[in-house]
Symmetry: C2
Subunit: 325 residues, 2 copies
């Protein structure tokens, strides 16, 4: 199938945003941004056998996740995702039906966020499929939830629960086994279909100031990024880090600490805000049914990330990263 | 080297546009578009052994071209390129120095157009390097140089000269040899370092209406796209298609017609405008020292692309595409 025929098949039937003047199919797409908003853009690539295994995930799940990890970056800026572009380098080992399924998985998620597909490219390659997604969003001009914004005395917070994605990965790779089907499927799904925290990001955008990261490389690694960019230290109350009931139920069988602190790919948001803003954030999150947990504090006299135990500070290193190679 | 260290090395030392609020290095980049302009965005991927050969092109040339082909898409919309994002999937066979050279090649071209690098991703992959570049530009809100805008009686035009890139590719692959060093190097460079026609695109944006494509897949293929999207026929005066003096000088040795009509990767602009606009376009191009040539006309009673010879119309098929596989 030639590229134009392929594009005509993946072309969305309708557009979500009237700001799209020219969609997929010409040399480039054209859109007209909302005038009161800044534009936010990011790109992320997923590679076969590095970020996903063909025999372990459906093409639909792979597509879903390729878009989800990018939306998560947009969420970590407090922005709304609006548009996406997709480029796929395709080896012979993938057939057309599988490629359409990848796009269908992305469209599933895109529809949830009313995102428009603006363009892309499909090319042949060697032995590994490579999916690159670009996402463009927008955020109010006065908002900047950067990792450099942490300040002394800030509350360190995290959305949702951590460690499920890593447990799911361990299941996927048959490194562990869990008999309970519901728990197994739930953990697998948390790995295959992470939920980008756009709503939480939008709430944080309403506050005066916040530092923010999405958790792609593990909690410890993301906290180190914030500490380094903000030139502060972060103290973590290990016991406060939230985990799901599913993970809790297998905590006696496995060493879940490494999943929770270093596992990564949870795509929750972690960041810091002032003590004064914390009450407002909790109220906003309760109203919106978003799980938000205080897990530590910022100390300007420290550098790095620490775990507090019996008033002792134990350094936590970066580690993180759970790719297949 | 870890990703953050890598990013710090490729991070531009200064920004060209004050509209960049957050550049490369956070979850996503933030920029604030000029309010009177539409945003234009495109993405294109280059794959080792499909779009370039490591042993035949320097990493710097490969980087240059990866960005150039994207700028060319922006030019084909009459827009100004402003920002770019780069994602690279890297096999073990490429070392760090070569990767920096790829970015250096892009920066060379980016500096010419005062483009800011807004972000990117670097990941490991199997056996082939994959470079994906996203470019964002802007164009006046009333301009839309789409391939669907051709009308009956339009002049068909092309910028620059055609066929050099394909001749360069034939040289690169040792399919042909040329003794004259200057001619050989010129043709090779036209293949390795195509010049995106941004200035010509900007002139076309000043006219009432134009259909426009950049020539990535060959003149015949691009004309077919315009004819199809506009539901018209295009008649080409084969003899008027401009070729360089370098290609002319070897025309007796090789069959240059296939390079000129089907070769592709010239990244010139081809399109159609009304007869009334043609005089104005020629005047604008003369003032700006841009080579612009009339090569045919649009006929609403035809469908497809034809070559005219002795008042006979001979259909020209699409073909095109000169990838290595």
């Amino acid at each position: 199938m030639e590229e134009f025929e392929f594009i005509s098949k993946i072309k969305p039937k309708r557009k979500h945003h009237r700001t799209v003047k020219v969609g997929i199919g010409d040399d480039a797409a054209v859109y007209e941004p909302n005038k009161a908003m800044n534009q936010v853009v990011c790109v992320d690539t997923m590679v076969e056998d590095v970020h996903f295994l063909k025999e372990k995930s459906s093409p639909r799940d792979i597509g879903y996740k390729a878009l989800a990890v990018n939306i998560s970056d947009i969420a970590a800026m407090g922005a709304m995702p609006l548009y996406y572009l997709v480029s796929i380098a395709i080896p012979n080992s993938w057939n057309e039906e599988e490629l359409f399924e990848i796009f269908a998985g992305m469209e599933e998620l895109a529809t949830q966020y009313q995102m428009d597909l603006l363009g892309g490219d499909t090319v042949a390659t060697g032995n590994k499929l490579v999916i690159t997604v670009t996402v463009i969003g927008e955020v109010e001009a006065n908002v900047s939830l950067l990792r450099s914004k942490a300040k002394d005395g800030d509350v360190v917070f995290v959305t949702g629960t951590l460690g499920d994605s890593s447990a799911g990965l361990a299941l996927l790779l048959d490194n562990i086994s869990i008999d309970n089907t519901y728990i197994r499927d739930t953990l697998l799904m948390r790995h295959k279909r992470p939920v980008p925290q756009v709503r939480a990001g939008r709430l944080l955008a309403k506050l005066d100031r916040a530092s923010l990261n999405d958790i792609s490389d593990g909690l410890a690694s993301e906290l180190h990024e914030i500490a380094e960019a903000s030139q502060v230290g972060i103290v973590l109350n290990r016991i406060d880090v939230p985990i799901s009931s599913e993970l809790e139920s297998v905590a006696d069988k496995f060493d879940i600490t490494k999943w929770v602190l270093y596992g990564g790919e949870d795509y929750q948001l972690v960041g810091t805000i002032s003590l004064e803003s914390w009450d407002e954030l909790i109220r906003l999150c309760n109203d919106s049914n978003i799980k938000m947990t205080k897990i530590g504090y910022v100390d300007k006299n420290l550098r790095g990330v620490f775990s507090k135990k019996d008033d002792q500070l134990i350094p936590i290193n970066k580690l993180g990263f759970n790719h297949f190679r």
